[in-house]
Symmetry: C2
Subunit: 441 residues, 2 copies
């Protein structure tokens, strides 16, 4: 009997591997950071002895969910203002709050809340776009969460940098500080076409190539953006980025709401990953991204929560359910976005888009152990006919019970194993009270 | 000091009364079935002494949610088949399962699961449409839940009746069995225009008038139905029902997806209540009900979950969030369906549409105590700026902590106070295993 750190077992193992193998009464053996065996529970228990056993009867085991687009620290602006026109929301509430409050301390504290929320919702990896990356990295690591942290690049000043050059030098420092880290992967995040000049975009792309990082950008989120790019560059946004050589498989493009078929073809050819932020797009009335067409064209579409200021939570379960449902109605076809496809978008495809497809996104021998357990003994999950359908259409973030990241048990029985949740909530409200006092809304 | 049964207190009391009074650090005194006082917490505790205190710091207190359209017993078909064309879903899975399994015992057991799920999701009243009403009534009452139970009427045979006359005599018996009950209110539920002849519809309406009950009907759910009614009656569905004198404020019309402006005017004039079943309409690709136009025309729009076979849960929190978001995108306007309006739809307006507006739907002196508490001490509910926005956009069914129905504490700390949840889940899976074995899918 080989000794391992954990055996995770349950009624169902949704491996999300290439064959979409579903193992009933299965188990996963974890040693160090890695999955060393997946299979029939009786067999695993015959071959391995574990220091700790997780899961059990009435549990589903699956890969951690991947959030491919967020601004984690914006959780502190959750619900600061809602039901407003986008311009008023940004200009009168969000931007003033950011200008007034953004700092390394703000990001450090806020990312603690964001990681706690995400981990308890079964998200094990997120791709961020924000500022003060060192603070975000330090806190994410403390929380035990895997993150790609996109160093934000803009052409105008913000709390973190005065000039475009400052953003780039911050980004290079950040990359050097964290390269080779187990949990933190730096990426480059030029904010959008309408906030970065062609030179800035090209420079960001060159930097990503030099350092071998992913690229994270907002793309074609609103109709306004399309008109802006058309006027300035006489092109559609995707065509424009293609023309400056911006695209390859390192790029995650968030939103892609206002996208024409010829642009979808470019995204497919260049293997650009798309982060679909359904709930944010709905709530801000940005529109409906044509992801069914994208999927048919071979574009890898994944899920992003966007920031909690716009959405208002960091919850891939509700993104999965809402996305699967809304696109059925839009397509006038209940067979599109079936539950297996939706779950692939939230797991393996998410990992692939972030360049981590060989490490996470499915439960397979040799991959890192980023795994969650779902408690199925709930009225809203009874009875069970089809586990995929349950996870997508009926399960909730609150059904996540245990979360393992990089082989470490981070959430056990819905409690973080090392940090004080109470402290994180108290700190959040302290910041919230200060922010509310300065909010004009 | 007057002695009362309960004092419920919290950081926020969302009264949902006419003035939408929001009481910070408030409390509610309950004696017997009724709310006898609502106000400042310090003041309530000065005036009343309670046998039991519910809620406290970090809680929001609000009226129980009202589910105006469901088929509760269909929880046993949750996830039996998904991602299929409507016709195949109905004809190959749902109808065969109903034909094979429907019985008084099935309904009795299934309604137990449905009530448990709804109560734990903060729903205190539901309007049902199904068969074997005595079983549903008995079980709902045992579970401590308030229900309008619509006796299903069809022109074709089913497990509960052979002829149209049988359905009517069942309905009359059911009404007589339960009239005057504290929790159970019988209603009449002619299924739809396409399953009931004009004579049947008129007879159902006359019966409702004779016995003073509500009427519950499916209306304009799919495009197919519009074409059917057009062909058969040379009219739009709402115009047709208007022409046979079917409409008044006793009617709850579920779905109303395919509705033209002139029909909306009729619904408004006749004070017909609409049950918006957003998630069901999305998942079955039925379409988008024009509820923003309805609300502007003065139609009282409320929330229905529909049956869990189509949706796949009984969750008004997710209906609120999805509805508020999707209609913003459809209207290309983020200001429509603001959080207060959405919460009114889920509480006071729901009660009014069901003819219970004088009894429930808001927290006010003299009304019955149907009240829930929400635990705000959660990462996804931190920090707090606006409680209405939090409830609609960020809160989840699992944040409901305590549920009081008719002055009785039914759910305490997310546990049913009198029934065995374990038994209900075991029974659900036993039925599920039998149903799965007979399902061709």
């Amino acid at each position: 009997m080989e000794s391992v750190d954990y055996i995770i077992c349950g009624d169902y193992i949704l491996t999300m591997n290439e064959e979409l193998a579903l193992i009933k009464n299965g188990a996963v053996a974890i040693k160090g950071k890695a999955v060393i065996s997946v299979g029939d529970s009786a067999d695993i228990f015959k071959r391995y002895t574990a220091k700790d056993i997780i899961g059990g009867k009435g549990k589903a085991i699956m890969p951690g969910l991947i959030n491919t687009h967020t601004h984690a620290a914006m959780v502190y602006f959750r619900g600061l203002s809602d039901d407003l026109p986008l311009k008023e929301w940004l200009e009168k509430h969000i931007w003033p709050a950011e200008n007034r409050w953004l700092s390394p301390e703000f990001v450090y504290d806020a990312v603690g809340l964001a990681c706690l929320e995400m981990l308890k919702a079964g998200i094990t990896t997120y791709h961020d776009m924000y500022f003060f990356g060192d603070s975000a990295a330090k806190k994410s690591k403390e929380m035990g969460m895997r993150a790609l942290l996109g160093a934000g690049i803009l052409d105008f000043p913000s709390a973190s940098a005065k000039t475009s050059d400052d953003y780039f030098s911050n980004a290079i420092k950040f990359i050097n500080n964290w390269k080779g880290d187990d949990l933190i992967t730096p990426s480059i995040a030029p904010h959008a076409i309408y906030t970065c000049s062609p030179e800035t975009l090209k420079k960001a792309k060159a930097l990503s190539e030099k350092y071998g990082t992913s690229v994270h950008i907002h793309l074609s989120e609103t109709e306004w953006e399309i008109n802006y790019v058309r006027t300035l560059y006489n092109n559609l946004p995707v065509e424009y980025l293609e023309s400056i050589g911006f695209f390859d498989e390192s790029v995650t493009a968030a939103h892609c709401v206002w996208i024409e078929d010829k642009e979808i073809e470019i995204l497919a050819n260049r293997k650009v990953g798309v982060s679909h932020c359904m709930e944010s797009n709905l709530k801000l009335a940005s529109g409906f991204a044509p992801i069914v067409t994208m999927l048919m064209a071979g574009v890898k579409v994944t899920f992003g929560t966007d920031g909690a200021a716009s959405n208002n939570d960091l919850n891939i379960f509700s993104e999965m359910s809402t996305t699967a449902k809304v696109h059925k109605a839009l397509a006038n076809n209940p067979t599109v976005l079936d539950s297996r496809t939706v779950l692939l978008m939230a797991t393996r495809w998410g990992a692939e888009v972030l360049g981590l497809g060989d490490k996470i996104g499915s439960i397979e021998e040799g991959k890192l152990a980023d795994i969650i357990t779902i408690n199925l003994k709930k009225p809203h999950l009874s009875p069970i006919y089809n586990i995929y359908s349950h996870i997508v259409y009926a399960a909730r973030a609150s059904d996540v019970e245990d979360v393992i990241v990089d082989g470490k048990l981070v959430i056990q029985n819905r409690k973080h194993t090392s940090c004080s949740e109470e402290d994180i909530l108290i700190k959040a409200q302290e910041w919230g009270d200060k922010i509310a006092a300065s909010n004009s809304g």
